[in-house]
Symmetry: C2
Subunit: 216 residues, 2 copies
């Protein structure tokens, strides 16, 4: 429909890329914009072209916790499962930065699975990667203390955009780590004391990664 740059996905057959471009709808999202929330029914699955989506889990009481990021070439495994089971989403997806994606209607999923080997591989890889991501989230929650969780989250965010500045408020980080703003502030100060970061208003500077200084 739109002139979509799916051609970057070299692992897809040309025919499949054609199909994606034909039936997919291009969507542009601004930073912080919400693509999906718990309870929402999903009728199409996103493939990310650029930028990144932050996937969060929420409980009934408004608390939430970060699960993982989706970046270029990723698709949302949750959407896949929800779509095919026709159930509402149980997670929230928010654009972490300006993000472009193609929304592919559910109906195509099954068709393409049998028609295009590369699509089958794509879908299975999506499941695989998300399992890995979930396990990492579990590791973080089960085995690490808050200071390390913050530090890792900051590094992940910085790596995502290949910048040394992370544009998050303490409150946002607190939400992502399911803790309180005060705790984040405290531990950021500690990290600052250790020389790993420098805090600014609305932005945190990553100084040191494993002894190396981040450039850019």
């Amino acid at each position: 429909m739109q002139p979509v740059t799916t051609s970057q996905f070299t692992e897809f057959e040309p025919r499949l890329i054609e199909e994606i471009e034909k039936s997919g709808i291009l969507k542009k999202m601004g930073a912080g914009e919400e693509l999906m929330r718990p309870g929402m029914y999903v009728r199409s699955i996103p493939i990310i072209l650029s930028g990144s989506l932050k996937i969060m889990r929420q409980d009934d009481g408004g608390n939430e916790t970060f699960l993982y990021f989706l970046t270029k070439g990723d698709t949302c495994a949750m959407s896949l499962t929800c779509c095919s089971a026709n159930r509402p989403s149980t997670v929230r997806a928010v654009a972490e930065e300006p993000t472009e994606l193609i929304m592919v209607p559910v109906e195509k999923l099954d068709q393409w699975m049998t028609m295009y080997p590369s699509w089958k591989i794509f879908v299975f890889q999506a499941y695989q990667r998300r399992f890995d991501d979930m396990l990492e989230a579990v590791d973080s929650l089960a085995f690490r203390r808050m200071d390390e969780r913050i530090w890792r989250l900051l590094k992940k965010k910085a790596a995502l955009q290949e910048k040394r500045f992370v544009y998050s408020t303490h409150q946002e980080l607190a939400d992502e780590l399911s803790t309180s703003r005060e705790v984040v502030t405290r531990l950021l100060k500690k990290l600052e004391g250790m020389g790993k970061i420098k805090t600014h208003r609305n932005r945190i500077e990553i100084i040191e990664v494993r002894g190396e200084t981040v450039r850019k």
Copy 2:
């Protein structure tokens, strides 16, 4: 090969059941026996006939945490991903009770996917269920305090075997919740004080579930 009772899986085509019985290997495990550990390469995927497997995540320092149970009719999504990506396992699987399973060689996975619609559904449902389980594990870790986590684990274990006794030591529960034995002992005492359980040596009795008393 062996006379396997796969016939209980009515959702499979008769032809598929035949195939499973032909190429699958029946395996019986005693309670506590280990099917898989991190680092192990898997060349066949298990389908559980009876009993249950406990899936645990371990970190490098010997700590571990419970992820979910697999029961009759389930298969291990981790095995699926590990097999097809030819990577070692990143989780540990232990028989929670005496358990019977069929081990199906990896090679069949792909074949059956295209040949038998019911197998494709089976595999996708496996992914779906395990995603749900992982999300529940995350909820537990992120949003609940240790006393509630213990209580829920006990109820889950009791439900698994439809008994009101849970045959676990405090140390085992501590490992499953990635905490220390002392904490478990203390909180069990608290639950006992609340009349929800009664503790015995090597076994815990579930007294009350949501106001109802457990029979059996």
